[in-house]
């Protein structure tokens, strides 16, 4: 165990786990608010450290397993940042509820698993982080405490059992085919020259594992229920950080390490199949949704479709995936945290579009945050989401799959049916309930966080116009 391990590799996760442990101790001493603060500090510190270290350290592989430097530290840092924001946004909720600190801790540990999934180039680490994320997800959904939440969690768990079984079988296959070598770096060369049938089965099973974690079609069934019934802040975390990690991990595995041999050329069409499936299912499913969180659930499925299409389009897709997932993660968490703020501004909000009618007049800042998030998810220029979509289009078109690009375009338009209806409800519908006397206050920490995220989205949207795209997203490139 040489301690000369570069800081970037171990400092960041240790900070988070340390924060969690201290938080739990504070919770034990019955001082919940300080527990949440400690967890949040752990996450925030890790995020800042991650960003700083990612720029300064030379990229490398720690312990032959954990990659660090540039993208491999910056992306997890973004994960930690979003997790920290989710915890801060849910501060009141976690500080008052009995299980609050537990939830916050779970979010923190979830982001550690995400880091491991993304940076760990090892079969065992892959399985552990996938399972870890699953456990965290079940708990976060069930943690909402309502009957519907627990029902969604049970349903999610039932699906999860089959998915983790398939995942294990897939990894067993890969582990066997590489001759018992768990590491991606050394194992993948052997994988290229193996009998094609088992290799392809392994590819399919691993793809299914990731598709389930990402909530892509046809493994998407848990997404709408889970996002609708979990707390908004938990949903903010679940819809951004695990997806960020899973998509990047899938990119590394398919393009960079295990399945890069031309034996696996069919990976592209598999990715396209589930990608287009998710895109269409999500976009069309979203249009009629009355419940905003459920709408964002379907939106999650649709957006993953774009990510998968990006991965499917070869080398051009690498930067596209990165840019897309960064902009999506920020957009998704901004959207959910804004919903949390709506809950605070109008406590008796029933979660539906009609329920939040005219909220923008009641709290203009919230209106702006919601609009920025929605427009970014649609992919409208001047917002971060546009650069993601643009790169996906460029990637698809550079290996001239024009039809796919058109399908992606049409899906974006249909999706505005959903996103636009939220803006419409917020701005143009007249609120039947007279807001003044209701007890809702100005919006509290979730509003502050959603404004911060909205500004980030605007910055990520407008700055590239001035400085060109590579400069802004170079930080995250692998």
């Amino acid at each position: 165990m040489d301690l000369a391990l570069p800081l970037a590799a171990w400092l960041v996760p240790v900070l988070v786990v340390g924060g969690v442990v201290l938080g739990l101790v504070a919770d034990a001493l019955d001082r919940r608010p300080s527990a949440i603060v400690l967890i949040a500090l752990g996450l925030g510190g890790a995020s800042v450290a991650g960003f700083v270290l990612s720029g300064s350290t030379q990229p490398g592989i720690a312990m032959g397993v954990l990659a660090y430097g540039s993208g491999f530290t910056a992306l997890p840092a973004l994960g930690y940042g979003l997790a920290a924001l989710a915890v801060i946004a849910g501060f009141r909720r976690y500080a008052t509820a009995d299980r609050g600190p537990g939830m916050a801790a779970l979010i923190a540990l979830g982001s550690v698993f995400a880091h491991a999934l993304l940076a760990g180039l090892d079969l065992i680490v892959l399985f552990v982080s996938l399972s870890g994320l699953a456990v965290v997800a079940y708990a976060l959904v069930a943690g909402a405490g309502t009957r519907r939440a627990e029902e969604s969690a049970v349903r999610y768990f039932v699906q999860g059992t089959i998915a983790s079984g398939l995942t294990l079988y897939g990894l067993a296959l890969v582990f066997g085919l590489t001759g018992g070598d768990a590491s991606f770096l050394t194992g993948s060369s052997a994988l290229g020259s193996v009998e094609s049938r088992p290799a392809l089965l392994a590819l399919a099973l691993v793809l299914s594992a990731f598709a389930f974690k990402l909530g892509a079609f046809p493994f998407h069934a848990w997404v709408p229920d889970a996002y609708e019934n979990a707390d908004s802040t938990s949903a903010a975390f679940l819809s951004s950080v695990p997806k960020l990690a899973a998509l990047v991990a899938l990119l590394v595995i398919v393009r960079g390490t295990l399945f890069q041999a031309d034996l696996f050329a069919s990976a592209t069409s598999l990715l396209v199949a589930i990608g287009v499936g998710s895109l269409l299912f999500g976009s069309f499913g979203m249009v009629r949704q009355q419940s905003v969180a459920r709408l964002l659930g379907y939106s999650g499925i649709a957006q993953v479709g774009y990510g998968l299409l990006a991965i499917s389009s070869g080398d051009a897709g690498i930067q596209a995936t990165i840019v897309f997932i960064v902009t999506y993660a920020v957009g998704a968490s901004a959207a959910f945290i804004a919903l949390e703020a709506v809950g605070r501004v109008r406590p008796e909000w029933d979660g539906t579009r009609a329920g939040m009618a005219g909220i923008a007049r009641r709290s203009p800042l919230l209106g702006v945050a919601l609009t920025v998030a929605m427009l970014s998810l649609t992919g409208i220029p001047l917002f971060a989401g546009f650069w993601g979509k643009l790169h996906v289009f460029a990637a698809l078109l550079s290996n001239d799959s024009v039809v796919l690009a058109i399908v992606a375009g049409v899906a974006a338009v249909v999706s505005f049916g959903g996103y636009g209806s939220v803006i419409r409800a917020a701005y143009f519908e007249d609120s039947n309930v007279n807001d003044d006397e209701t007890v809702g206050e100005w919006g509290g920490s979730p509003l502050v966080v959603s404004i911060v995220l909205a500004l980030a989205i605007l910055a990520l949207g407008i700055v590239p116009l001035l400085t060109g795209i590579s400069r802004v997203y170079a930080l995250f490139s692998l």
Partner: protein
């Protein structure tokens, strides 16, 4: 640097009035100052371009990074930018006493900045960014300050145009990928290989033709206009419709000339259909705003015909058509808006004899109507004349069908004049919703300050169209040679 100012000033105005928009007076002053400032800079740019006659360019570079912010002003964009700046002032003045004026003014200025961005963009991606950025303020203007079913109209407007421009984005990116020259628009753009030109052309056309609008894709326009507030309608009719035609001239012709030449007959047919169909529909309308909206479809039909001819005369006709329609439609929407402010109805039957009760309003309305039907001596005629003559030159007698449109144009315009201005001052002056029939007061000083300059410009452009065509001649000449048919 001045080009960047053209976008920066309205944007700054938008931000300031959004923040400080609480008090009406402050919002008004900021908005007026911003729009006047923009107009000033536009005049400077016009003068600079007129004297030097080679395109002004501006590129924002930060230590060598490949920035998308590349602006250029040439013969094609300078007149349209000037038109936008002018209509910006008119729109600001027209929304003098609107509720929630702060946000309204900021959206208006943001809209102006975005539209100027489209006209100045010398980068395919910046063009698209500005193109979409226009949708956002317009969406909120229609949705926030519209009338009864403004929500439906705002959503329809956004989704309809966004559907077109999504396909356009695919076309633009394909253009960048195939063109290989990066996203910047070189001064003399080299066309991409003919095989994929058709695909790129029709992908771009999807977005561009929706915006013009061309007939089968026009059904968003009447709803958007009926519901939009006066200032929104002025900007929507005045400049937003020009972005489509500008896009064809700026991107389709230089980058996909062969496909453009092949598609020219289809475009011409769409133009002619637009002329006749728009006029026929306008004849049947009883809502004044819908009537002017359909007349816009007819006018833009002439512009499309001019573009499709691909000759220099045709392009000059198209340019004139665009500028003139901007002025005429802007004036008409302002007048209808002013009438709506007084009588709270747009139904054509509710009025009559306004020539007696509102003489000033009536006189300007008659002048605007005559300009709208293309009476020589007013700005409508040169554009239509050049487009028809050029179109006829290229496509022959099939263009005669447009003649029906010209006659119908006279029919629906004069029908409106007959029902609104002529006839006995109807007893039904009482507004529809039973308000005490406010004695319909005639146009006041502010409103005259808006209308009279527009009328002056309409007459000036009618008498001497070379005010605009001279400045555009060089660029349009180059475009015409690109379009392969120079006549």
């Amino acid at each position: 640097m001045t080009l960047a100012l053209l976008i920066a000033i309205p944007l700054a105005g938008a931000l300031v009035s959004a923040v400080v928009g609480r008090s009406t007076a402050v919002a008004r002053i900021i908005a007026l100052a911003a729009s006047l400032g923009t107009a000033g800079v536009a005049a400077v740019v016009w003068q600079a371009y007129a004297s030097s006659a080679e395109a002004l360019t501006y590129e924002f570079t930060m230590d060598g990074a490949g920035s998308f912010l590349r602006l250029a002003a040439d013969g094609l964009s300078v007149p349209l930018v000037a038109l936008t700046a002018l209509l910006g002032i008119i729109a600001v003045l027209a929304s003098w006493n609107v509720e929630r004026i702060g946000t309204h003014m900021s959206l208006l200025l943001a809209l102006e900045a975005a539209v100027i961005g489209v006209f100045l963009a010398a980068d395919l991606i910046l063009f698209y960014v500005a193109w979409e950025a226009v949708l956002i303020p317009m969406f909120f203007l229609i949705g926030g300050w519209g009338h009864e079913n403004r929500r439906y109209a705002a959503m329809k407007f956004f989704i309809y145009t966004f559907a077109g421009s999504a396909l356009m984005l695919v076309g633009l990116v394909l253009l960048v990928v195939l063109g290989g020259t990066g996203t910047g628009m070189p001064a003399t753009p080299l066309p991409i290989e003919p095989a994929s030109q058709t695909l790129v052309f029709w992908l771009l056309a999807a977005g561009l033709l929706v915006k013009i609008p061309v007939v089968p894709l026009h059904t968003w326009l009447p709803d958007a206009h009926v519901e939009a507030p006066t200032a929104g309608s002025i900007m929507l009719a005045g400049v937003l419709l020009k972005m489509g035609a500008y896009g064809i001239a700026r991107i389709s012709i230089p980058y996909t000339p062969d496909a453009f030449a092949a598609a020219a007959p289809i475009l011409a047919a769409l133009g002619v259909i637009g002329i006749v169909y728009g006029a026929a529909m306008a004849l049947g309308q009883c809502d004044l705003k819908r009537l002017v909206a359909y007349s816009s479809v007819a006018h833009m039909g002439f512009v499309v015909l001019g573009l499709a001819s691909g000759t220099e005369l045709g392009l000059q006709g198209a340019m004139l058509g665009m500028v003139s329609h901007g002025l005429v439609a802007g004036l008409l929407f302002f007048l209808v808006g002013a009438l709506y402010e007084r009588a709270h109805t747009r139904d054509i039957g509710a009025f009559g004899g306004l020539g007696v009760t509102l003489p000033r309003w009536a006189t300007i309305f008659v002048v605007a109507s005559l300009a709208s039907l293309g009476l020589p001596g007013l700005s409508g005629f040169p554009g239509e004349f050049a487009s028809v003559v050029a179109g006829f030159g290229r496509f022959g007698f099939v263009i005669a069908v447009a003649g029906i449109g010209i006659v119908l144009a006279g029919a629906y315009t004069l029908r409106a004049v007959r029902l609104v201005v002529h006839g006995e001052p109807a007893a039904t002056q009482a507004p529809a919703d039973g308000l005490q029939p406010a004695a319909l007061r005639d146009l006041d000083a502010r409103e005259l300050l808006i209308a009279v300059p527009l009328v002056a410009l309409i007459v000036a452009l009618g008498i001497w169209p070379r005010l605009v065509t001279d400045i555009a001649a060089a660029t349009l000449g180059a475009l015409a040679s690109l379009a392969g048919t120079v006549s």
